[in-house]
Symmetry: D3
Subunit: 116 residues, 6 copies
Amino acid sequence: MSNQVEEFNAYRAKMNDKLLQDNNKIIKRIFNLDTNAFAAGALDVKTKELLGLVASTVLRCDDCVKYHLESSYKEGVSKEEIMETLGIATLVGGTIVIPHLRRAYEYWEELENTEG
Amino acid sequence: MSNQVEEFNAYRAKMNDKLLQDNNKIIKRIFNLDTNAFAAGALDVKTKELLGLVASTVLRCDDCVKYHLESSYKEGVSKEEIMETLGIATLVGGTIVIPHLRRAYEYWEELENTEG
Amino acid sequence: MSNQVEEFNAYRAKMNDKLLQDNNKIIKRIFNLDTNAFAAGALDVKTKELLGLVASTVLRCDDCVKYHLESSYKEGVSKEEIMETLGIATLVGGTIVIPHLRRAYEYWEELENTEG
Amino acid sequence: MSNQVEEFNAYRAKMNDKLLQDNNKIIKRIFNLDTNAFAAGALDVKTKELLGLVASTVLRCDDCVKYHLESSYKEGVSKEEIMETLGIATLVGGTIVIPHLRRAYEYWEELENTEG
Amino acid sequence: MSNQVEEFNAYRAKMNDKLLQDNNKIIKRIFNLDTNAFAAGALDVKTKELLGLVASTVLRCDDCVKYHLESSYKEGVSKEEIMETLGIATLVGGTIVIPHLRRAYEYWEELENTEG
Amino acid sequence: MSNQVEEFNAYRAKMNDKLLQDNNKIIKRIFNLDTNAFAAGALDVKTKELLGLVASTVLRCDDCVKYHLESSYKEGVSKEEIMETLGIATLVGGTIVIPHLRRAYEYWEELENTEG
């Protein structure tokens, strides 16, 4: 894995573990719900990942964007589909989204350059 | 059409007309882009409408939610698909989204009750 | 009850019922968590209600503000405590909070004028 | 004055009075600062009103937008200047700003139709 | 002090000094108000710090979160109380708060590991 | 140029190039609009840059703030005018803007220290 992808995942995993071991019931259940909400239902997993991506982008949460880019990548979403999703996010959320777009694009490239 | 749906569309159409006749180039082009961004591309129209819906919901824009609910309704999106989209929005955006959820649900019901 | 308090509660109860009967698992669980998060724990109920109030105010969610004003009122929070909480919200969130402050103040007055 | 302008100002004045009489020091001082921040300095009053307008619009605060539209109107700002300011707001803040644009445009029309 | 705590405080102090020496009246007074708003009143200092913490967390301001974590730590707030406050913030503000939760948790650990 | 200014511009240019070469029509047009919106019209370039600065600051977008600080600097905006603009942003947007104020002030200093 590329440095950026690896670092993001390592920090995320380490701190999520700590948060969950802390045993705050509300936080644990929200983490749990997160897994449930993106599972297949009336909508398939790929569509849900794109919903998560666009929501994260308009709310300008870089870490959330990275997370959904990676899940989308693993689901086989194409770069063109990602770009259309990010295009909608930029239109709806405005030019303040652009700095996050730059970082999202870079992260996607790193995901593509990551082999095994 | 129900009262709420009708009123929303009438006010929206009237004021959009005025805004566009005002001839501010930036505003006109943004309106134009909005039409383009939700047209079929790598992603189909239905998926794009749901992306618009989830973005509008987490940004807590009632009028944008109504607009995308109506477009989704016309695209044949099912209520279950709408609810899964709104569920993701509420999880990502938090309980402050709930008041918008109540109004979205009511608007969807009015769309369903509207015949002809 | 005053008109405003009554209307808010009636609409809220009616639409919450509909949302919950719709059986979307994510939305139902988030509603459930909401009840849990504000129950007594390391922090008492009154403190938690004020936390909910300040969070709702800086996020500028009028309905959430009304809800936490009413719960705070029932917990015996004094007007002075409410005002200090709203003062912090206005300082942290800026003058865009002021319109919500006006509506919060009016709602609190209606709560106080409500007897039985 | 038109109905909408009159109603907005009446409610705003009534509730601001109540808030200020309540004697919360933080809230009183923030109200005070608001008057100071928009007074002439290195930048003139008109420029500052447009800064207030664009900030209010991207933060999607209808009442703040109305307030700055009215102050701008009294400072002799032209409709074209208002539209360029709102155009920047819509570009920076995205299409979720558009519903606020519709209401801003309507309010500006009412200000123009108000004679004495 | 740990590296992260030390660095945050050093940069914050250095830049605040510069901002205050610049003599912009509005900015100076807002800094002043900040000190006043969190002083004991109808609510005690600890409660006010938690109000500041929850507001900063839902508004996703990492530096503000760090500041209130440190003040809370000095006031003797327990980790369990911090976690309940952050739990409410995550529920109200949604899963986009989680990346800030990870950083908050890490900062709190550094505060606890700091002796003298 | 100072390190910070240089790094920001290099990364921004590199990633903007990639985004534009990707040929997503929506994103390309939004980039285009951005150039148009800040060109002279009824309002002059300097005023528009300050509008862009205050909008970016209240929306707490550090990269957008840096961009408008640099354009303002090139337009000959004085430090006092910048500070009045940032003062309004802090009042309207609240104390959560302050961390962005610290970074903006530092960036402005770097712009001033940059000679040829």
